[in-house]
Symmetry: C2
Subunit: 432 residues, 2 copies
Amino acid sequence: MTSSHVRIGVIGAGFVGSALVAALLEEERHVALVDAATGTIELVGVAVRDITKPRPGVPVELLTDDALSLAAREDVDIVVELVGGIEPAKTYIETALRRGASVVTANKALMAAHGTALAALAHEHGADLHYEAAVAGAIPIIAALRSSLAGEKITRVLGIVNGTTNFILSKMTMEGLDYGVVLAEAQALGYAEADPTADVEGFDAAAKVQILSSLAIGTSLQGEEISREGISAIRALDVDFARRYGYVIKLIGVVERVGEWGVSRRTHPALVPASHPLASVNGALNAVFVEGQNAGPLVFMGPGAGGQPTASAVLGNVLHAARNRNAGRHDVPFTVDDRLHNVDIADLSSVFYISLDVVDEPGVLAQVASVFAHHHVSIQSMEQAGLASDARLNFVTHEAKTSDIDATLTDLRGIAAVESIGACLRVIGGAA
Amino acid sequence: MTSSHVRIGVIGAGFVGSALVAALLEEERHVALVDAATGTIELVGVAVRDITKPRPGVPVELLTDDALSLAAREDVDIVVELVGGIEPAKTYIETALRRGASVVTANKALMAAHGTALAALAHEHGADLHYEAAVAGAIPIIAALRSSLAGEKITRVLGIVNGTTNFILSKMTMEGLDYGVVLAEAQALGYAEADPTADVEGFDAAAKVQILSSLAIGTSLQGEEISREGISAIRALDVDFARRYGYVIKLIGVVERVGEWGVSRRTHPALVPASHPLASVNGALNAVFVEGQNAGPLVFMGPGAGGQPTASAVLGNVLHAARNRNAGRHDVPFTVDDRLHNVDIADLSSVFYISLDVVDEPGVLAQVASVFAHHHVSIQSMEQAGLASDARLNFVTHEAKTSDIDATLTDLRGIAAVESIGACLRVIGGAA
């Protein structure tokens, strides 16, 4: 194995890009990165939107505002894409891959939407496509699924993969505050965007579920089929109910085998037992829980975002791509099994917590109970909370089919004494 | 990349070997293992001590009692060593590597003692040497350190890497029982060996610290320099003290950078804050906590032992070696930096919990306090527990140098009213 020289081009110099450039330029670290397998690494270009903006520590001669040309430059061996979004990122990546350059990206939206096609394009041109930072920051979950767990039949992946919603739910839990109050605070602190939709409505988590499902189970199923539910309807009341019964509410992403060839992929809030490993993952942390046929439950936990952790994951990918390049090889994409089909969440069973705002008058419980019974939903526990205009009935069901729960809710809305359905959330078991 | 055929020989068919053989022979899984990169995989031999013992599911024609010949067989591409111990395992591995075959092993004692030399031998002959299962079962910590975190300057690795001691300490904590009682129970359940020395005196944990330090920091320092302290002296009293002050006692393994070129490697019991991620790792679970300059604290958790998890880790390594073989490449050993030197634990500072069995008479505290003061050890808190013949003084110090604590203990032993030193344990902080 001869040592060689690998040239890197970085597109995007925001938080992650700046941290990466600093790491690549830091002399001492640079020496540590160079070994017989990696060869020497040279940063040859950094594409930015505004070339006139001062960027301390980045040599001016490396800067360019022509990202597409950097992706196309024949002497760039590895292109790092850090601009995010679908276009023009997709064009940059395709341009690099088509000429056989390897690509490292942190772009979860793009990988969720076009990951299979881009991986095939990379393979066709003998190039690597790495995206460790697209899921759970510096936690090496992608590498674990691609390599260490390659011999494992994975049965379930369960994760807290969105730091913003975990920050909001953790703060609601610890301080008993309402969603709106905590969201405003998260926005003020920069933990949530001005338009928080992508995070709080589960779009970001769904993108990560899509990426995880392709690697963990080997499906080419589309992201549109992922069942998605956000956290914006969760009330302080629900968090308090969960706490009193030994649970915490978390937004989880799930990839799960159902029978031989079924796969359920979903993201939704859930009541998680306080003793579950995911329950103590608080703040902006991420965690991924992997269950396999042999490997037993493995938990991976760490910071889910941030410039430095993300840059660390990107740099690990760059070194991996450099080693492959020196060895004249590339990683192959995950194997897809087309026998796998999507299982609709309507067909899955779960325990549910259902909270109804009701008129506080005799006979309401009997009416409500008969609706549950009519749809074969059996009740595990019930409490009446609040009084008069604030009266609520909180139920925990036994395991029930989602479609039966949906039908129950529809009928409950038709009862005059039921003012509204305050919450309907899944409850997961001790073993998840 | 052309797909090819890779032949596997397995030496040892105990719990792990049997689970691996079953996985390799299981038809459905076998199909899943074969992709363009891996090629087809064929189990061609299983070496066992007693060839006459019935082994359901293992074709008789695969069995041999000549392990050395299996390691030497020219048509075996990957040799899996699962016999454990130093010899003859070392000879089997060297035999395979010298003819260019790749080796997968779960042998922590061997890798701790001879890992650097064996890795160099593998590299010299263009072969892979993988040992994921040698540390923390199926938790892919070796792969994470070798690949994903290759670009990271790792500052500390902290782990619970011995399931037996964690089982014992967890049970002492949860049930308030004495060490001897719980050890006997662990032995009856098969969680501890008849001679528990390797586990309870920290030898097993030290071997894992040695392996982790070579990968995480890149040292070639010897295992003999690892500071090692076991759990056999821990009393129910100490566990109770820890609990009352918000701690749990864990046997931890630590690899830590000290200054620019120093490395501290040690295993010892410690009082861990109940809020620390490692505190909730109970029973036979393992967990490894990695801190880097950029990556932030990452936690890896899972079953630390057992036939199936270990077999899963071995199988992941086999597939990795098969892919490398098909690509005509091999992984290179970790980079060693010879400027790194060992830092003796005597030179490190820590907070300490010290429990003294004393004669319950006036003036004892004054005598003891003057010894602490003489050695510049400052006291954070003190309590007197028990009465009369059962009287104890429990101290928590401020941060103090280990050598000063050692000198303090020596002088305390010289005080007539101090009957014995019941405990002297390190206390780690919230951020560990």
